[in-house]
């Protein structure tokens, strides 16, 4: 555990869940606004549990190459570099820069 940094503890938990083989639709990238909003809407309507968010958003613990670009949290508009945080209101999670998800956008 990371009693001195709760956010890092959550990151570690997420890393373990992803490494454990959580099944997600990570190949279903939100290529247009309609798909993006469908994913966001599904997360909003969900139970809000961590694994549910990860599954619906299609999290991976590595960048996903798509449309000639490595889609990673570190280049995503919702990623705060210094906090190491995804600020998409529906996710609102501590994340690592090398991770990725379907609602990546720049």
């Amino acid at each position: 555990m990371h009693p001195e940094d709760p956010a890092e503890a959550v990151r570690e938990s997420i890393a373990q869940i992803l490494a454990g083989g959580l099944e997600t639709d990570w190949r279903l990238r939100a290529d247009d606004s309609e798909r993006f909003h469908a994913v966001v809407k599904a997360i909003r309507a969900s139970d809000g549990e961590l694994t549910t968010k990860l599954r619906l958003a299609g999290f991976t613990d590595h960048p996903v190459p798509h449309d000639g670009f490595d889609q990673a949290c570190e280049s995503c508009m919702y990623f705060q570099v210094h906090r190491g945080w995804c600020v998409l209101p529906e996710l609102d999670l501590p994340v690592r820069p090398e991770w990725s998800c379907n609602v990546w956008r720049v």
């Binding site: 247009d32 606004s33 993006f36 570190e74 280049s75 919702y78 705060q80 956008r105 720049v106």
Partner: protein
């Protein structure tokens, strides 16, 4: 003394409200300091019925010199091109506009609707509306592409929904005081002095734009509104963050995305569900990029800016 006539077509009166709130100069200043004689205005004119028709007829015939014709709202052509859905002073408004434009020294379109059709001309455009010399971005409109007023200028477009009060009064003063030939127009016939810079120019969120920090909710003081909330500031020509609204603020300063209301395509995406206040994306990249920016350059800039962003860019720096 310059005679000014202001008429409204398919309009909500928003530009009249804006005009009456002008401060530099004010609507009263136009009369007292700049020699503008307001022949008639929908909210100020005294004449009614036959007296109004006589006033308009005198402008058309030349008995009264019509120096400036200001038009607010769309030209309504429905039904079937007759314009009968917008009758005024005994005949379709569009017939008055045709005759008065031919007699006017200058013709000024105030607001989006008069300039290029605005919201009424959005598909399916039930009133068959168009602007004076444009329908959206297509030149032509009601008066046709070759129209020029007696002073030799095409319609002067002062767009906006509404136009900022001072854009209106400053252009009217320029025309009324004989400096109309100093007004240079862009390719959409907007005065360059107002419509060359971008809404983003002077935006208090420019640092967040540069470091790619996104606002995710309305009213949030931290973050740029372009990335997620559909702000059109980087590709909209207006001085909204240079000539402030009510002398103190602007949409983007207040946490409200620019809706691009000085551009002919407004309202964008025909107000399709999900398109308002939502940045439209293709493969995760904004469909409309900042003016002049290519996709590859945008992607590279994003990666570099994210990597270089300082910690304070993620904080709320507007501390009360």
């Amino acid at each position: 003394m310059a005679n000014l006539l202001w008429l409204q077509g398919g309009a909500c009166s928003g530009n009249t409200m804006s005009f009456l709130n002008a401060e530099e100069p004010s609507a009263c200043d136009l009369v007292t300091d700049f020699g503008i004689n307001i022949l008639w205005h929908p909210s100020l004119g005294m004449e009614l019925g036959d007296n109004l028709i006589q006033l308009l007829d005198d402008c058309v015939s030349g008995r009264t010199s019509l120096d400036i014709l200001v038009f607010e709202g769309t030209i309504v052509n429905a039904p079937n091109g007759t314009g009968e859905w917008n009758r005024f002073a005994g005949r379709p408004m569009k017939d008055w506009v045709k005759d008065l434009s031919a007699a006017a020294g200058y013709v000024v379109a105030i607001g989006d609707c008069a300039a290029w059709g605005g919201i009424p001309a959005t598909a399916p455009n039930p009133t068959d509306s168009e602007g004076l010399q444009y329908l959206k971005r297509r030149r032509g409109g009601f008066l046709g592409p070759s129209f020029s007023s007696k002073a030799g200028l095409p319609v002067i477009n002062v767009p906006g929904c509404p136009a900022h009060p001072d854009w209106v009064t400053q252009i009217l003063v320029a025309v009324a005081t004989g400096r109309g030939d100093e007004i240079t127009l862009d390719d959409l016939q907007r005065p360059k002095t107002f419509f060359t810079s971008f809404t983003q120019t002077g935006c208090t969120r420019n640092m967040h734009f540069a470091y790619k920090v996104s606002a995710t909710e309305f009213g949030q003081r931290r973050g740029c509104l372009f990335y997620d909330l559909g702000c059109r500031g980087p590709m909209t020509h207006s001085p909204c963050n240079r000539i402030l609204w009510n002398r103190q603020s602007s949409k983007t300063r207040a946490g409200m995305p620019c809706i691009g209301c000085t551009e002919p395509e407004f309202p964008f995406f025909d107000l399709a569900p999900g398109s308002v206040f939502k940045t439209q994306t293709v493969m995760g990249v904004p469909r409309d990029l900042p003016d002049g920016v290519e996709k590859n350059g945008y992607m590279k800039m994003t990666v570099a800016a994210k990597a270089a962003s300082p910690a304070w860019a993620e904080e709320d720096i507007f501390v009360i």
